[in-house]
């Protein structure tokens, strides 16, 4: 079974803090994704990565950065957290770079509250 884990289920941070959200997958998947999920807006892509050290902006990258130093780990960084970044953050992975039709496997999510 594919396992995608996220470092925290719940996180409370203050405005202006630097926040790290970590995601690890154990199935040697090439592609990894970060989404945020908000009521009425569905899942919106922040960044994705198709290889180590490679990253591509999604639809809402502003205020976020990512890091992929190892294949199994994809980190989302909020350089200076703001209240409008309060959300549920979902990490996902999929096996092969060359096949966009593949299934995505999601982690359990991190619910972030920025005060």
């Amino acid at each position: 079974d594919v396992k995608v884990t996220q470092s925290s289920r719940y996180l409370v941070k203050r405005t202006g803090e630097k926040v790290f959200l970590e995601c690890v997958q154990d199935m040697d998947h090439e592609n990894m994704f970060w989404y945020r999920q908000d009521p009425g807006l569905g899942l919106r892509l922040i960044y994705f990565s198709y290889d180590v050290k490679m990253k591509e902006k999604g639809d809402i990258p502003e205020g976020y950065s990512v890091s992929r130093e190892k294949k199994e780990r994809f980190s989302l960084i909020l350089e200076s957290a703001s209240t409008n970044q309060t959300s549920m953050y979902l990490c996902a992975s999929s096996p092969h770079r060359a096949d966009p039709e593949e299934t995505q496997y999601f982690g359990p999510g991190t619910r972030l509250l920025v005060l």
Partner: protein, 111 residues
């Protein structure tokens, strides 16, 4: 830009009633996938449709992809309490990884 609208946003049904959610895209899709997210859980893949007019069934669930590959539907026959959750469609027009998720339909089943 590409948009995928999903309706309804919420649906409450009595156990045993049928349920349908619809996805409509502003552009032609290369494929569509459906995911289910249980309350407090994460999205889990249900099925993928690729061909124009394709229909697939999984027990009480029937999935359709429109002839023009711009819309899709998920129909559940005789809902059960285990069907509770949010159903998302995921579309891709450009064959890249910039998938567009529908806004989701939250289903509540009343026993």
């Amino acid at each position: 830009g590409q948009q995928v609208m999903q309706i309804p946003q919420y649906q409450h049904v009595q156990e045993g009633e049928d349920f349908t959610t619809y996805c409509n895209s502003s552009t032609t899709l290369s494929n569509i996938q459906w995911y289910k997210q249980r309350p407090g859980g994460h999205p889990v893949f249900l099925i993928q449709l690729v061909k124009s007019g394709e229909v697939k069934k999984q027990k009480r669930l029937t999935f359709q992809f429109g002839e023009a590959k711009k819309n899709s539907s998920l129909h559940i026959t005789a809902t059960q309490t285990t069907d509770v959750g949010t159903y998302f469609c995921r579309g891709d027009a450009s064959g890249t990884y910039k998938y567009i998720f529908g806004t989701g339909t939250r289903l509540k089943v009343l026993a």
